[in-house]
Amino acid sequence: MLRLNINGEDHTLDVDPDMPLLWVLRDVLGLTGAKFGCGIGQCGACTVHIDGQAIRSCVTVVSAVGESKVVTIEGLQRHGDHPVQQAWLEHDVPQCGYCQPGMMMAAAALLKATPHPTDADIDDQITNICRCGTYVRIRQAIHTAAAKG
């Protein structure tokens, strides 16, 4: 049995300790906000927070999480009105939307560590892939969230 704290709730789970966190979230717990894109930590669609840091859950085995607190897009803010989400709404960022939970989690972690990021900070920290090509608006929305946050 494995204990996990996800979005403030404790879970006791009977899962293979080698299973990546992504599949525990999606297939075991039904938290489908974190997406599967590559399985090798390249695209960031699976980004969640562990103790406030953005990590790629598809390459993070669940047993490595330990006592740390996991936050997914579902738990980013209780009412879903995190400054990043508000900014994403304001700029109508998503197209297909599939990568956006990962993008927003990466952006939220960036803003926590660097409340007023420069373009260079954004280039450096937001390495997730968006195939629809919403990068122009992601950059604008991060600046907007920073200004309001």
């Binding site: 489908t32 297909c96 629809c132």
Partner: protein, 722 residues
Amino acid sequence: MANIMPNRRGFLISAAAATGGLMLGFHLPSDTSRAVAAETTDKGAEVNAWIVIQPDETVTIRVARAEMGQGIFTALPMLVAEELDCDWHKVRAEYASPAENFRRKHIFGSMLTGGSLSVRTSQDYLRTAGATARAMLIAAAAAEWNVPAGECEAADGVIQHAPTHRRVTFGQVAAAAAKLAPPHDVKLKPASAWRLIGQPVKRLDTPDKVHAKPVYGIDVRLPDMVYATVANCPVFGGKLKSVDQSKIEGMKGVHRVVPLDNAVAVVGEGYWQVRQALDALPITWDDGGNGGVDSASIGRLVHDGLTGSDAAVLRSDGDVSGVTRAAHTVVQAEYSAPFLAHAAMEPINCTAHVTADKVELWVPTQNADATLLLAAQAAGVDPSKVEVHVTFLGGGFGRRGAAVSQNFVPQAVAIAKAVGKPVKLLWSREEDVRCDFYRPTSAARFVAGLDESGGLLSWHLRLAGPSIAHTLAPSTISHGADARMLEGLIDMPYAVPNILIDYAMRNTHVPVGFWRSVNHSQNAFFKESFIDEMAHATGQDPYQFRRSLLAHNPLHLAVLDAAAKAAGWGDKLPAGVFRGIAHNEAYGTIVTQVVEASVSGKGEVRVHRVVCAIDSGHVVNPDTIQAQVQGAIVFGLTAALYGEITIKQGRVEQRNFDDYEMLRLADMPKVEVVLVPSGASWGGVGEPGLPPVAPALCNALFAATGKRIRALPLKNQTLTAA
């Protein structure tokens, strides 16, 4: 009333050929279907097939096309709502049901989502549906008040009769309106009267998308559902020879192996468990005789087509060879472009449940009509037994459209049939990349003759490569004359007095298909690079040279000039930064782009700015057009810089985003989009922003380095700053 289903065969043909633009009569309730249409349920009153109005004033507008990011979940309801005159804030969009489309004789028209055609081909019948419903709502109110309908006005979901100061809401009269016969003589508003069309309306799907609420295919969860993943035969056209199931027996969470004709599926409790098992499963394939094919052999085959004597002539005006021989200047060049994978962010998936009397699918599909028929065929049941639930799509880009390329549908049905439970089939990214229907590799050989003042006299365009129709619909072509392979060339806007365009079909075992902007993606690179070459060979400015070729065509000239003006063509640039320009028309929309780029001392390409002018005719949602062009530029730049699928031992060499690279935020240039709508037509916007990027960039790189790029991607080129 039109009837497209005289018999099942007739239906199949219609469905296969459906490209939208069907007759209006189709899309409104016919007399025979009105019994269904007029049903009032607790879900509200269906005024017509597209519009359901609830007593609480919520207006549900059905969308028959797939939302894959391009914004039609907002744009198509805008078209309906414009004529309905409802309160936009009360509008919600929902998918039309594919099964209902089948049962109700294609009442929703084509569900095919591709070719940038959703707005273009459905605007007429969607606006008419809105206007028809509006007339019915007014008629219902007028009847209740016993006043002439002509004295009533509707606006923002409220009907008023000014002479008697009476008002009623749509929600209050919808049930009565739904029982009326639809009028057949409604008039649509002139463009000058539009209040919603043309406004930067916020997307209806954004609030859900920022809260991770939409259900994509991969998110579907059903009671008792099991998970499956597959290994597809790595050599296209090969078969499964044998699989040693004993190696994974007893693995925790793994239920069984399902051998298929050209794939092996493992079924179990979760994706990760079945993926682990599949990786451990010894599989032997029969490569079908193509295990020796590689990119070099394909390259030779295609290149030989450039001089082959079997080319199909698809356009011939004047005397190209005679005029070229006598020309003052002859320009000649050969170009090539590689296979490309779609790599939509959501890997291929399909959830299926097959029972004795029903087949049910939950699937991200760009063509649900085809999905339904494919599932019926795979399950061996009548199409009336199939229900397809279209989910949101985590990208499509053409991969999830054509029936043949929906290979995941029969696969999911076969696995579900074997298992007897709902099965979510999910491919790994590796399978997604190596079992695609690729943008075809292609080669071009151009020879042109120009006069002493640089006027273009003659142009021979020879294309060679695999035909998309050969993969997707072989019966539609004869003698290799797949004209679609020449799109953007055969219909190019430039004035060329003598022109010959021919195509040497060179098919390989690699399946090819529709990829965002289809053949424009490579053809615009060939055409616009060569235009640049001709300009430089005759000492002309590339922008001015294009102006001279478009002098007869004011619509095109306006877009070209708008881009040049916005980009400051001719103005001084920072040291080391150079400009390139390209122009293309695709899917009814004219686009010019100017790219500013530099090459570092190490030979690294940096794209600084892309300016794009676009004339889509009418503009439904300007903010969506901005977004689509921004996205198309990313898609096009990704291909130009990195995109390449190569073949070795009959197999695709690339596997995932580490070796099939994507543009990321750090590489993103500034993008400025200028809308210059002529109002002359309805053009598409999902794809036309893509084709000019690669040639505009390569033309800028020529300006920067003096090196002409004739083969993509750029990662294979060595560049040195001049």
